[in-house]
């Protein structure tokens, strides 16, 4: 069984007495030491999926309407808060989009890392301090002995994200969920942080779920990719299969809207239109109003998931790419 196994996850947002679906039928699996990328525009449900896995939807308007999430054989959605707390941080950890706000501003970073360690490990404060130093070294913070006493506001965004990663890794989790870990960072720092995550993965054998809107980041880092649009997975394949044979017009659109680094372009091919809001109902394929390949069928019939090749699924009536 896969390390993380999500089956037909449905999330809904309660508004004015009705439930609006925000994530529909998402099925994903992550094996040991594997990196799964989830890519899509803002509001496509990728972060909500991550929050649902971590159980952070409690107290929000979003409800889990159906499906299952299994992690190492545990049914995460059925766990008591007590049992869940034992897994959180120890078996699975998460790093967030905003390194600027994800550290508690009133604690020294060393204290925060130590706290994360002592939550699950019984060791003396001295040992925890040593471990915190090791972790800072591991995430390549220069001069950890000095930086361990810094407050978050004394550090740069990249350094804070490194501290977040150190906290997440405090108890050697089996699964790390990284929700746009590099979005708020400079491009050069971005590269460092991604390399760091990859290096740590190679070292510890953990699995990673990397959420991003940047196909470039995904292509460099992930073993397999799920492309999400409006709460659904529209294309899912191994990274090599996806990039050699992009089949969904939306995936192609995402690729086309990336600036090329090797030559100047006058005009980027943006995907026209915008993601429909939650209360707009789109008949047929949710992407058809923005799709360059839309035909009459797309307006009336919702495409099911079809295999382009084994382990490469696409939710489109007219998949693009070589094999179609």
């Amino acid at each position: 069984m896969a390390l993380l196994d999500i089956r037909k996850l449905d999330l809904s947002i309660a508004r004015g007495g009705e439930l609006l679906p925000v994530v529909q039928g998402v099925s994903l699996s992550v094996e040991e030491n594997e990196t799964l990328g989830i890519v899509g525009e803002s509001g496509c449900g990728k972060s909500l999926t991550a929050l649902a896995i971590m159980g952070l939807l409690e107290g929000t308007a979003v409800r889990i309407a159906g499906g299952s999430v299994h992690f190492q054989g545990w049914d995460l959605l059925a766990l008591s808060p007590e049992e869940r707390r034992r897994i959180m941080g120890r078996q699975m950890a998460m790093i967030f989009q905003e390194p600027m706000t994800s550290l508690n501003p009133v604690y020294r970073v060393g204290d925060q890392i130590r706290e994360a360690i002592l939550q699950h490990r019984s060791m003396s404060r001295r040992q925890a301090h040593e471990r915190a130093l090791d972790l800072l070294e591991l995430v390549r913070i220069p001069d950890p002995a000095r930086r361990i006493d810094s407050f978050p506001h004394q550090m740069s965004g990249g350094q804070r994200q490194r501290v977040m990663i150190a906290m997440a890794l405090a108890c050697d989790p089996r699964l790390l969920i990284a929700d746009e870990p590099t979005t708020a960072l400079d491009v050069t720092v971005q590269k460092d942080v991604l390399e760091l995550i990859r290096g740590l993965q190679a070292r510890t054998g953990m699995s990673v779920v990397l959420i991003s809107h940047d196909l470039g980041v995904i292509s460099e880092t992930c073993d397999k990719v799920a492309v999400m649009y409006r709460g659904r997975i529209v294309e899912q394949a191994s990274t090599s299969a996806l990039f050699s044979n992009m089949s969904h017009p939306y995936t192609l659109g995402l690729l086309g809207s990336m600036p090329a680094l090797d030559h100047d372009v006058e005009w980027l091919d943006a995907i026209p239109g915008r993601v429909p809001t939650l209360d707009e109902t789109v008949l047929g394929c949710a992407f058809h109003p923005r799709c360059f390949a839309a035909k009459a069928t797309c307006r009336t019939e919702d495409p099911g998931a079809a295999a382009v090749s084994p382990a490469h699924f696409v939710r489109c009536h007219f998949p693009q790419g070589s094999s179609s």
């Binding site: 952070l56 959180m88 120890r90 967030f96 994800s102 550290l103 009133v106 939550q119 906290m167």
Partner: protein, 283 residues
Amino acid sequence: MSVPLSIAPVFRGRALATIGACWLLVVGIAAVGAPLLAPFDPLEFDPFVRLSSPGWPHLFGTDHFGRDSLSRAIYGARMVILIGSGSVLIALVAGGLIGMLSAYFVRLGHLLMRIVDVLMAFPALLLALVLMTLLERSVLNTVIVIGIVYATTTARIVFGMTLKLKRDVFVDAAICSGAGHASVLFRHILPNLVSPMLVQASFIFAFAQLQAAALDFLGLGLPPEVPSWGNMLSEERIYVTRAPWLLIFPGALIILSVFSMNLVGDALRDNIDPRFKDDIAGV
């Protein structure tokens, strides 16, 4: 837990606030050293020097029992500190807990915050009066009542701030690392509330003095034998034409102290809340 806060920048360029702080220091010294500093026993009657005017040896004059006003004023400083710190403690602990728990546990909050709303609907003095009439006059009861009155405003403030803090990413990060409710509330949210609560404390300290003085004056606060500035005003008010100094001195002390506390509170708030910085600098 460590909050980066030093005293120096709070008073830099604020002459009045510095003077206020110095005055409060004087009050503090008077409170601590009252038995050494007071020239007479504040409770000792001397019928031969009733209502004597300020002069030697009674610098502030004597009241209608012949008690030395200066000594009573010096001992009164103890009540300032006691009432102030006592009600601040009760207001911050009770109000802080109610506010934090209400914001964190939404259902509980619906109940608790409505009770707070009802209490806040009464003017502070009226609420204190009602509560005091139900209780015996004593130092402890006065402190409790004033503490309860200001717990409501503290609860409101803390409620709002906790609502915001609990949505901050570092709280999610803490939950992700396996922190439970108690740990999130007291180890992650509470330290972020320390600075604003400190500012709130300085204002409660000041308002508590006014409330206590008003209660004393109305005969509902501290027991009459306790030397406090409010009691001095209350007992000697009928002699206002014959011996006005008996009211002028304690009245001036109350005004000066409350004003000083407000100035220090302002300086603290300006230093902690960047939105106020430089707007009214120099005050």
